[in-house]
Amino acid sequence: MSARFDVIVIGAGHNGLTAATVLARKGKRVCVVEKAAQAGGMARMTDFGGGATGPEIAHLLYNLSPAVAKDTGVAFDAQPLPTIALSPDGFHAEIRGGTLRRAEGTLHPDASAFEALDARLVRFAALLGQLSDKPPPTIAEGLASMASLRDLGGLAKLGLNLKRLGRDDMREFLRIVLSNAYDLLLDELPDGPVAGALAADAVRGAFSGPRAPGSVFTLMYRMGQGCDAAWPMGGFGAFEGAATGAGATLRCGTGVASVDVEGDRVQGVTLEDGTVLQAGAVLSSLGAEATMQLAGPAHFDIEATRRLRNMRTKGTAAKLNLVLSDVPDMPGLSDAQKAGRLIVAPSAAHVERAFDPVKYGRASDAPVIEAVMPSLTDPSLCGQGRQVLSAIVSYVPFAPEGGWTPAVRDDLTARAIDTLETYMPGLSGLIIHQTLLTPDDIAAATGAPGGHWHHGEMGIDQVLTVRPVNGLSRYAFGIGGYYLCGASAHPGGNVTGSPGRNAARRLLTDGIPA
């Protein structure tokens, strides 16, 4: 059996779906091939049974780019959520819209210091954010073509905007951009839950602690389009809806066995069941190395295969999903605050210490947690008064020493629940269902290399012109008609759709052979 399309997109994660939508809206015949039974990738909803549904892996929207929304028509009814920095002493803090106050509503002693720091970081983040809607800049092609001149123009604009920050801000930006979050935060704030929450944001999903160089960059990346997290009402289905609505064909349940190449051009894909789908272009939202392997290393230069093989992709975030029989008691928080993004990171130093064990193949003794109960914002998710508690647990190794035995998994689950129970007394008595997804599980379920949030560490050696690796940074992936459109491409992970959109636009510029 064989069918012909203009473009095949491998993987129906949010980036694959975004790419498919952009192309389908331009009148291309697009087929999205997804290995799992359900589309969505890391951004998908799951039914926990008993009338409770919730986000399986990713659970918040941060950086959905306006450019993506415009090019795909994806519209989320996104409810912004406050960030609650939980404090073991019960004096929690609320961060909302760049302001800081105590959870009970009174003035927080660090409010003005926080607000000045936050405003500065948001300003800087916008500078980096403008790079997200384009392929990473290059000067390699020099002045040879109009396209490379446009690139240089973008680079010049970045320089100009940097200049426009003013002398002091420009110096400050250049001073901190490659530095570590820990020092930056503690220059301005006393170490405690607020600094802890920001430090945790800087390194969530990363194989690094907040004292590692480059963690300011990842913090800014997270703030790229404004830093408030939001819950998309109804879940993440809008990506899938936009793709099918634009006319893309979605094929779930069978993965791609190989990308077919002839004469240094992709010809289509062969599915695991032997079905051949022909196309002039193939976009892959898999990890960068997996994308190379699908076509076969023989089609790539030796340097490229070596770099792809050595990409740093050790995921450190596990996911714990709990179905609760009732809203847990959370002393010190209002109902609106309970629905917020709850951060367990008592201090920046705590986050750094939590990272240490993962270097040696063990999970954190005292994990850092980002928890949210979307069913409080979106009651349609659960019936019978039930609630879904979705928690991202850091740091958890991809391959623990001795492997993921049931005992190790249970221990991790218990430790995470125990940590949450400090702030939610009686939590364990409410649990009627629990699912733990280790980085290993996430890799198996989604194909994300190492189960990594960003499909590859957002280190300074793996961003911008060297993302995923030097020489393959501008979506075109060696073979003619082959493109990388997932989180391992610029600008990286989070539910942004930006890599997918940028890759699709690159393909449209290059043109699709009939």
Binding site: D264, Q293, G296, P297, A298, H299, F300, D301, I302, E303, A304, T305, R306, R309, G471, G478
Partner: protein, 395 residues
Amino acid sequence: MTQRPASTVPIGLIPGPFHDRLDALSHARGWMDWAGYMSPTVLDTAEFEYFAIRNQATLFDISPMHKYRVTGPEAPAMINRVVTRDVRRIGEGRVGYALWCDEEGMLIDDGTLFRISDTEFRLCCQERMFGWLLDAADGFDVAVTDESDTVAGLSLQGPTSFSVLKDAGLDVADMKPFDLREVEPDLWISRTGFTGDLGYELWMPWEAALALWDRLWAAGGHWGLRAIGYDALHIARIEAGFMAAGMDFQPVHAALRLHRGRTPFELGFGRMVDFDKGHFNGRRALLSHRDYGARTHLVKLDIGGFKPAQDALIYHRKRREVGHVTSGVWSPTAKRNIALAELKAPFGDSKTSDLWAEIYVNEEGRWNRRMVPVTVESKPFFINDRARATPPGAF
């Protein structure tokens, strides 16, 4: 991995497999560092040794060359991914000249590729390639072995080399140029060399080296067999028009500065790049280099006068600097002053007239600058039918 104690690490240059014999023959005591081995520059005098290459037979130890064996069902595919030519056209028992490039199409090194069997190759080259070949092997069902210090190589070159082999009991009469054969267990002979003359290269286990040397030496007296050093070979290889790594091109893995790499097109080996065989390293970059055109040309030059022009600058109309000599010698056989030179395009290709070399001469303490005319040659300076005759003549 086992580690040897540090005390066994040799300090300084180490003796090669033929060292005992070379040392006994070395009147000149001229040694150089070749890949860490003590290799003779000259044993007697370079002139005697050079004329032995062209008129008798010579032995030169080529064991310091790097040798890598690639074995496995996917060996042809893996090698084809590395080199620019199509190795499927090199039959079993044949040797092919090969070049390989980095991802930007710049030459990493050149060498000889021995097809031992359908699934077994040996790559022989100047530069260290083990790490590179291991990277290249990823995803292929092959094993790569570094044989650099287990396989000894001996180059027997010169018009009487066939006769020496014959008298040593090694009959290779029917071997054509670039043929390869295991003439005796563990002794491989290829009809290859770096002199442009009749000659053979013999490959054997490291510990079998001295016995083979003695066997050839015993048979060779009658045929004028001499041991030689690098200096004599250097003259012969320029006469034959062969380029040398590090002199006529900069192996790109060893070059630190930008734009020091050269494409096969720029070195005159466009015909060795097969774009139709499927992907190989640097193919995409080489396609654009082919379309963009060469930046430089490596050419053979006949230079006026008799002073070797090593490193001389080349000028167009005696004014504009357009290149430099990379290897230059006086050719005793051609009786010409010859050189290889790198010229900026289009010089050396479409523009070849009115070229001059700048030569400095020391006239008893006074330095003089001479502009001597330069002619671009298309053919090697030494060509002799005896090099290709099969069966070869006695001398």
